[in-house]
Homo-oligomer: 128 residues x 2
């Protein structure tokens, strides 16, 4: 952190430390904002729901574990240090056999379940 | 990668593998696009130039090494797995004693030297 004192937006965000601060799965936490885009961290395990985001691409970066992004024409498998962008409008369904930590990037206000909705829809909290 | 065959945008991007494909410093390489934002990788060492981006925030995530982002009121020091967002309009000057690999996120078309210009201004290549 800079010496001069800053508001929360000026803090260094340590991904490992932030991941240690929550345990709920499929519930992305906002950790940074870049203009009107949000960087989120999530822990995931099991299978999510098929959905798409008709108006935006969505970036997934795996921090630890293994994430399979099921697409209608095949699976994308990501390990640590691998990222993938699901294009807007492309149906996808993430799953992870073991708990997996991921970083997400998408415009503010993007809903995790896209147009599918349902009880997996999460309210995004901010990790200060 | 999905089985069905995709264009370049649908590829898995492995950060370590991509970093192994270039050696020039202070020359960000585009590795993914999220709507009108770009994800870039760069290797940096030494000191850059003081500059700002009056119209956009800029995200730095350190992959390896140590990055010091000098601000007018103090330094921000980032190690691996740490990220920081320089707010729009805030003057900054990155430096790294040893070679450091970083991931950048900013809107497409953002110039690395911001309003400072000069001979450190890089043309952004794409790593396919």
């Amino acid at each position: 952190m800079a010496d001069g004192g800053h508001d929360g937006r000026m803090d260094v965000r340590n991904l490992e430390e932030l991941l240690g601060r929550f345990s709920d799965q499929w519930s992305p936490k906002r950790i940074a904002t870049v203009n009107d885009y949000e960087v989120k961290l999530a822990k995931v395990q099991g299978e999510f729901v098929w959905h798409d985001h008709p108006d935006t691409d969505e970036l997934f970066l795996v921090i630890s574990g293994k994430l399979t992004i099921q697409l209608r024409d095949g699976d994308v498998v990501l390990g640590p240090g691998e990222l993938f962008v699901v294009p807007k409008g492309v149906e996808h369904c993430p799953r992870a056999d073991d708990e997996t930590a991921i970083l997400l990037l998408e415009p503010a206000g993007t809903v995790n379940t896209g147009t599918a909705g349902g009880d997996r829809t999460a309210v995004v909290e901010t990790l200060d």
